[in-house]
């Protein structure tokens, strides 16, 4: 297997982008990444595009050729693959791109992720997101997506004494980080009180415990490490790319206080990278709901199981903490265009590892980890990146 590097990144602003179509978002992120890498269109060998539900959000499937067309690469007849793994679509697209380059099949691969979520109205977006859960045995009976994470939260609180305030502190921290990210959907700081006073969505989760509905796209350019030097001297290497799956339904799992697929993907990734959790300088984790970040830092081995709430309260994961988590603002503040999220996490890590994160720069960041989850934990993808 060849070693793989990231030589370019691109990302649109995240938010309710009424004036931008899916096409425009894909083009904007892709073009930024291509310009950042300094590559020519003819050099591109393949494209992978993560998108969760383009069919239901904009009535458009078959978005591989759409991406080829917007990039003006149809004369190359570029092989383009759309990748779907619910909210982990972007992360799994990264994994596919990594495999394609590592295997020796392709030299320059564009990985993208995009979702246009605000063209549907009312509760339709929530209903589409519910298709990441088990339609026949979960959603049919009336449980929503926030509802599934609420079951996790209640379980965690009951078993370990995790508090509503500790959940809220995840949102407060991520909004603080997001306030320094010009591309974040929400750039205002919030307080624990704001979270607790926001309406309940599914007890114990309040509105401000939940990530928003977002439009956006992100992209990254992958090459073999040995040719990366030709394009840039700020090389970020992919030390590990690991994917793991579990049951589709939450009730089918072996554990309810953890996402076993994330634990397994992390184990595989640490082994592949030859590192331990303590070697990680910063992480972007899948905080679709505040409880998800608490469970994530436990599953990743940053803290013991059950101690995630306390660790958040004590500032372990703050921007100036021991392991800064979600320096971008996370899904909570940066926004969560589902298919784009996994690639957006990679964008943040690359910026941090290159020392280009501005106000929110983590000092001496060398190793970064991205944790991207699909559904209630049916899919988990972990990437470990290193600045070299």
């Amino acid at each position: 297997m060849r070693e793989v590097a990231i030589i370019g990144i691109g990302m649109t602003k995240f938010g309710e982008l009424w004036d931008k179509s899916f096409r425009e978002l894909v083009a904007e992120a892709g073009i930024q990444a291509i310009l950042d890498a300094g590559i020519e269109g003819e050099e591109i060998d393949a494209l992978y595009l993560g998108g969760m539900s383009t069919g239901r959000f904009i009535g458009q499937e078959h978005v591989g050729p759409l991406a080829v067309e917007v990039a003006g690469l149809e004369d190359l007849h570029l092989p383009a693959t759309r990748v779907e793994a619910a909210c982990a679509s972007g992360g799994v697209a990264m994994h596919q791109g990594f495999l394609a380059v590592a295997s020796g099949m392709y030299d320059i691969v564009v990985v993208g992720g995009a979702e246009k979520m605000t063209d549907v109205v009312g509760g339709e977006a929530t209903n589409i997101l519910a298709s990441a859960a088990d339609r026949e045995w979960e959603s049919f009976f009336g449980v929503t997506f926030p509802g599934l994470y609420a079951l996790m939260a209640k379980y965690h609180m009951h078993k370990y004494g995790t508090t509503q305030e500790q959940l809220a502190m995840v949102a407060v921290k991520n909004h603080y980080n997001g306030s320094m990210n010009p591309k974040a959907q929400f750039r205002r700081k919030i307080s624990v009180e704001d979270v607790l006073k926001s309406p309940l969505v599914a007890d114990p989760l309040h509105l401000l415990d939940c990530s928003p509905i977002t439009d956006g796209a992100a992209a990254a350019i992958l090459t073999p490490l040995d040719i990366a030097k030709k394009y840039t001297d700020k090389i970020v290497k992919i030390r590990a790319s690991a994917l793991a799956c579990d049951t589709l339904s939450y009730h089918g799992r072996k554990r309810f206080d953890s996402l076993p697929a994330a634990v397994e993907a992390a184990k595989r990734a640490y082994k592949m990278a030859g590192i331990e959790p303590k070697d990680v300088d910063l992480a972007e984790v899948h905080d679709c709901f505040t409880i998800a970040e608490i469970i994530a830092i436990e599953d990743l081995g940053f803290v013991e199981k059950g101690k995630g709430g306390k660790a958040t309260e004590e500032g372990l994961t703050a921007l100036d903490g021991e392991i800064p988590v979600n320096t971008s603002g996370g899904l909570k503040a940066k926004g969560h265009p589902v298919g784009a999220t996994g690639v957006a996490q990679i964008n943040e890590l690359v910026m941090q590892l290159r020392g280009e994160a501005g106000e929110r720069q983590v000092k001496d960041a060398t190793i970064g980890l991205a944790h991207n989850v699909g559904g209630s934990g049916g899919t988990a993808v972990i990437h470990i990146l290193e600045a070299i």
Binding site: G123, W137, V201, A202
Partner: protein, 134 residues
């Protein structure tokens, strides 16, 4: 959505008929096609098995923002329930006040209206749970 999609799930949704692995004896609900423990050995040996309907609440939430099909029905309680046979499922808790629901609460299944396909479409039934009489 065509009615066949709902009709074919009637045995499990009306009568809690799951599957029992003919090799190891483990009970599965919702029904599974292959036993994840015995895998190949269980092929063709998964037998219908009716659950007792009794279980315990392992976790719960109150849905305040419902999906479109449940518009006007919130707030309602959804729970993660461990059935006495050892399998877990997700179901609604009814016939009691929200404040009464707690982790460890004993519940039993009852047949109820779950949702309907618009004003003129089919009505879909299935299991919900109430406080156990025992």
């Amino acid at each position: 959505m065509g009615v066949a999609r709902y009709w074919r799930e009637i045995p499990a949704r009306y009568n809690l008929i799951g599957k029992k692995c003919g090799v190891c004896g483990k009970v599965y609900f919702p029904p599974r096609i292959v036993c994840p423990k015995c895998r190949r050995k269980s092929i063709g040996k998964m037998e219908d098995y009716k659950l007792s309907g009794k279980g315990t609440v392992e976790s719960f939430t109150v849905i305040r923002v419902p999906p479109p099909e449940f518009e006007g029905k919130s707030p309602y309680v959804m729970a993660l329930i461990k059935m006495d046979e050892g399998c877990y499922l997700t179901g609604q808790i009814v016939d009691c006040s929200i404040d009464e629901v707690h982790i460890g609460m004993r519940v039993e299944a009852c047949l109820r209206r779950i949702q309907e396909d618009g004003k003129r479409g089919a009505i879909y039934y299935g299991y919900k749970f109430r406080k156990a009489k025992e």
